[in-house]
């Protein structure tokens, strides 16, 4: 049987004005009909270029320099453009990452899905429309007939992605190239789309190349995985084999660097130091050598060939055997202050507020967020009158103790970032209070406020936007000390150097501008700046979501270490529950502006009480084939309702499998499920403590 897609010795280059990027080098892979091949790599590894090479759609200056691409035995390299066009959209189709930018904004859904049908099939307009309805139905677009005249911006992200899949499937392709098909989506929607792709592949029997950076995404659905690094395939094996007994150190490190839900969060993640090589001038020898723990002299001199059998091939001189054990503890020091504080709490819940700034047993919490509400007005018309508002944070109450690490998790639009901004005073609450050590600091003015701000610092998500492009790192790090008027110039210099060293950057970095750093390095500078004032609380908003996997673990390890070394409370905000669980002792789950569940990492992961939390855990792709393949249900159906007009009663009820009449009428209060574990649900998955309801009246 001929393979649906067979690539051998493929090399691709992209010519730039001053240099040439050797994007793909000597790559080979084979996919049979009905199979999925996962192509995993970080940004810049050449994985997307490989997909685009198949279609002959390389960006400007890009061209194939050698090798062969065969679709069902037919050679594509060297095929005239006209012949290639006949294949595109017909026998080979592609799904891209961003559905909003990939659909033409001025054409209707119907027109766009019909286009390939009209082009490749000899059909009338009517027949084409019938086919359009058929595929739109196939990809699960509800009421496709009514959607035909809609424009892309009128659909939600998940539905748009379905439309893009429909375009790809319109002509029954034999090969489907999916380039990061779910990266731009929220986890709950991602699960739905991945499930759809699985289902379609089985029903239609096509070959799928699934290009992604996320090991979790491929774990459950690829038959085979190829790992790419710096333009080369470094390892290729059937999925189970790759996860259980990888041979390449890069694969090992990549898997070891991903934080996992079930993992002991006191262990250090495996980290890959440094940055990937520059592909305009790749090093001789093994391209991973400079970052490899096992590199020898030979690795620097000779490039290892892809060896092994057809089943399991890898390119390494000093292969490893199986996954690395995470043994190294995060810090040698124990968290004495935290443990003392928490021990003192006993079973008295920190959330109970019986008097301003004092919990029942008299221990002052560090940070209290009390009934905080934040709504962003929506204005319209000439006079800018307010017509509605986005309910970003609705009546949230929680307490954070000194030295504690608190995690906030939720999908986009759940209000987690707004809450973070409220804590550090970038935003002001519409009602409610934020108290630091019992004092309502943001009611202060002038110098008093300035002094108070010192204790609340923030690390931002976007490593590109959070550093002033016109200031050198030295000035960036000195600025907080200048503003707060701390120390003499000499002391400041010393402090800057000390912190820079702490975050793993050389002193030479001081004289550089932000644009001279990579994303991960910039995030280190941002972290250093937040630490300059030795705050009592540091808020980190999506600190690693803009970074590549291997860089992510560097920053996570660093943050974990600094959290422990310094007696500082931190609030880590992320959409990724695994990241939050790794960094935080206690986790709050938010949904549409509401705090729905609160508890320790284990409470949340092992004993979720709220159906949303449980669904969230189920939908997160886990880099473990056994776990992923065992998943049977999608998790959460439907899409996130608009925060402008949230559902009445329990805001999750529209997507909740357990919802009943009462959920739409009465807003569920937070109830206790043992210790500090709280959740707001009428039909919780755990049994609540008796008469907890009466003691907790946080709502209202």
């Amino acid at each position: 049987m001929t393979a649906a897609l067979e690539i051998s010795n493929l090399s691709t280059e992209i010519k730039l004005s001053r240099s040439t990027v050797h994007a793909v080098g000597n790559v080979g892979l084979t996919i049979n009909a009905g199979e999925t091949l996962g192509l995993v790599g970080e940004s810049g590894s050449g994985k997307s270029m490989l997909g685009l090479s198949v279609l002959g759609l390389l960006p400007n200056g890009g061209h194939i320099t050698g090798g062969s691409i065969k679709i069902e035995g037919q050679e594509l390299v060297g095929l005239p453009e006209k012949e290639l066009r006949k294949l595109r959209g017909d026998r080979v189709a592609m799904i891209f990452q961003d559905s909003l930018s990939s659909l033409n904004p001025t054409k209707t859904i119907g027109q766009q899905v019909a286009e390939p049908v009209r082009l490749h099939r000899d059909v009338t307009q009517r027949e084409a429309m019938e086919r359009v309805l058929e595929v739109l139905d196939l990809v699960g677009l509800p009421k496709p007939k009514e959607r035909l005249a809609d424009f892309p911006h009128q659909l939600s992200g998940g539905l748009r992605q379905r439309v893009m899949i429909a375009i790809a499937l319109a002509c029954d392709p034999r090969v489907l190239l999916a380039d990061e098909p779910t990266t731009a989506l929220d986890v709950t929607i991602q699960a739905q789309i991945l499930r759809l792709l699985d289902d379609l592949e089985q029903r239609l029997g096509m070959a799928t190349l699934l290009v992604t950076h996320d090991m979790g995404v491929v774990a459950g659905r690829a038959n085979r995985i190829n790992v790419m690094y710096a333009g080369r395939i470094v390892e290729s094996a059937p999925t189970e084999l790759l996860f259980s007994s990888m041979r390449h150190p890069y694969t090992q490190a990549l898997l070891g660097s991903i934080p996992r839900l079930e993992q002991d969060n006191t262990k250090r993640l495996l980290s890959i130091p440094g940055l990937p090589p520059d592909l305009t001038n790749p090093p001789t020898g093994c391209r991973f050598a400079a970052r490899c723990r096992f590199a020898t002299e030979q690795c620097l001199q000779q490039e290892p060939p892809l060896t092994g059998d057809a089943q399991h091939a890898f390119a390494c001189w000093n292969p490893v055997d199986g996954p690395a054990e995470l043994t190294e503890s995060v810090a040698h020091a124990t968290r004495a202050p935290v443990q003392a504080a928490r021990a003192g709490l006993g079973d008295s819940p920190s959330i109970t507020i019986s008097g301003p700034g004092v919990t029942q047993n008299g221990i002052k919490p560090l940070l209290e967020i009390v009934n905080v509400v934040r709504e962003y007005p929506i204005t319209a018309g000439f006079l800018r009158r307010q017509v509605n508002s986005v309910k970003a944070v609705s009546d949230v109450t929680l307490t954070i103790h000194s030295g504690e690490s608190f995690g906030l998790v939720g999908e986009s639009g759940c209000g987690k970032t707004s809450l973070g901004k409220l804590i550090v005073g970038i935003e002001k609450p519409d009602s409610g209070h934020i108290r630091l050590a019992g004092e309502d600091v943001f009611s202060y003015r002038g110098t008093k406020l300035r002094k108070a701000r010192r204790d609340l610092q923030m690390m931002f998500q976007d490593p590109f936007g959070s550093l002033d492009p016109r200031m050198r790192v030295n000035a960036i790090l000195q600025e907080p000390l200048q503003i707060q008027n701390i120390g003499s110039q000499r002391e400041r210099d010393e402090k800057v150097r000390g912190i820079l060293d702490d975050v793993g950057l050389p002193a030479a970095a001081l004289e550089r501008y932000p644009h001279e750093f990579s994303g991960g390095q910039r995030q280190r500078v941002a972290l250093a700046r937040a630490l300059m004032l030795e705050p009592k609380v540091m808020v980190a908003d999506e600190p690693v979501s803009a970074l590549d996997v291997s860089i992510r673990s560097q920053v996570l390890n660093l943050m974990k270490r600094l959290q422990i070394e310094r007696d500082m409370a931190s609030v880590v905000i992320s959409h990724d529950l695994a990241v939050v669980k790794y960094l935080a002792d206690r986790i709050g789950v938010m949904y549409l502006g509401k705090l729905v569940e609160l508890g320790s990492g284990d409470d949340i992961y092992a004993r979720p009480a709220h159906p949303y939390t449980q669904a969230l855990i189920k939908t997160i792709p886990v880099p473990d084939p056994a776990v992923e393949k065992a998943k049977t249900e999608v998790g959460i159906r439907g899409e996130l309702p608009s925060p402008i007009d949230p559902p009445s009663g329990c805001r999750f009820r529209t997507r909740c499998p357990l919802a009943q009449q009462i959920c739409s009428e009465v807003e569920p209060p937070l109830r206790r499920f043992g210790g500090e574990h709280l959740a707001a649900c009428h039909f919780p998955l755990q049994t609540p403590e008796p008469d907890a309801e009466s003691s907790l009246t946080t709502a209202g």
Binding site: L275, N281, R293, P469, R470, A508, G520, I551, Q554
Partner: protein, 335 residues
């Protein structure tokens, strides 16, 4: 021909991290990620990865600018005409003040390299005078416009709310009044001297810079680094002086070159319509007022040399402005 790899190109990253003299080799701060027998040396490269060898932002911008051949040419043209206009009159003397019918309408040659006009004035000397007027009016008017525009736009952007709305509606209204017409009308009363014309042009061309600066301030205000400064406790003044103004400057700088070009063109239009500088001063536009008659009389020397000067200088300003914008873009691309 293959060029050697450019070490300052965007794509360049340290090829051999262990050889980077800037960073050297340093152990991971946690100690022991790289085993001691790693061929690259104990500890291997830095945990955070090594720094990329890229020069500072301004040098990057300068390099980008200098690599744009048209822009360098434009700069050269500007330098030439500056020398021509301001140094020229000291080296070449020609009659530009005493009307002399005997010398009128001479073709180029003899003592008049570019001939004479109907008053017997030496065309080359007049061109030098016109050049002075072009540069003076161009720069004065641009500076006036940019100062008013930057202040106005910055205030609107910073204050925001109702006042911002009001200020911008006023700009909308003023922008709806056709520029050249209102300038011409005002010029019937105020023109004749360089200062007057510069004032008139400057006072009516600050609207676009005001809009640009306001837009820039509004985007900058929402940037995370400004939020970061607020979180540190930075005062409003500090945020404006240290973060907003320096970052908004690039928009302003690029705009000045375009404003100079536009003001020079406007001066030419005023002159051509007879509302230019008064005797004995002149501008290139004044000299081209009767161009249509000159060409019909075959007096080409009174039209093309002056016209070429005008086009070249305005073109040079536009080229430099365009290249500046691209250069600053390159610098900011890495944000």
């Amino acid at each position: 021909m293959t060029e050697p790899p450019d070490i300052n190109s965007e794509q360049w990253r340290v090829e051999h991290p262990w050889e980077d003299p800037l960073t050297g080799v340093r152990p991971d701060p946690l100690g022991g990620i790289m085993p001691a027998d790693h061929p690259l040396g104990a500890g291997g490269s830095l945990d955070g990865g090594d720094l990329q060898g890229i020069s500072s932002g301004w040098r990057l911008a300068l390099r980008e600018f200098m690599s744009n051949r048209l822009a360098v040419l434009g700069l050269a043209v500007l330098v030439f005409f500056l020398l021509f206009s301001f140094l020229g009159p000291h080296l070449y003397h020609g009659n530009t003040t005493i009307s002399n019918p005997l010398d009128a309408n001479l073709a180029p040659g003899g003592g008049h390299p570019i001939g004479t006009d109907e008053n017997g004035f030496d065309e080359l000397a007049r061109m030098m005078q016109g050049g002075q007027a072009a540069f003076e009016v161009g720069v004065f008017a641009a500076v006036i416009a940019i100062v008013i525009g930057t202040l106005y736009g910055a205030i609107a952007g910073l204050v925001g709310g109702f006042l911002d709305g009001l200020m911008m509606r006023l700009v909308d209204v003023l922008l709806s009044i056709p520029f050249l017409f209102i300038v011409l009308v005002v010029s019937t009363k105020y023109s004749g001297s360089v200062i007057e014309i510069s004032l008139v042009l400057g006072v009516f061309s600050w609207l676009i810079p005001a809009r640009l600066v306001r837009g820039e301030v509004l985007t900058l205000r929402e940037r995370d680094f400004v939020s970061a400064a607020r979180v540190m406790g930075g005062s409003r003044t500090r945020i404006v002086m240290r973060h907003l103004i320096p970052n908004a400057m690039s928009v302003t700088i690029v705009n000045v070159t375009f404003l100079i070009a536009d003001s020079m063109l406007a001066l030419a239009y005023l002159g051509a319509l007879g509302l230019g500088l008064s005797y004995p001063h002149t501008s290139w536009g004044d000299m081209l007022g009767q161009a249509s008659t000159y060409v019909q009389n075959g007096q080409w020397w009174l039209v093309y040399p002056v016209g070429a000067c005008l086009v070249l200088v305005v073109l040079a300003c536009n080229l430099v402005g365009d290249a500046l914008r691209d250069a600053i873009d390159v610098r900011l691309r890495r944000r």
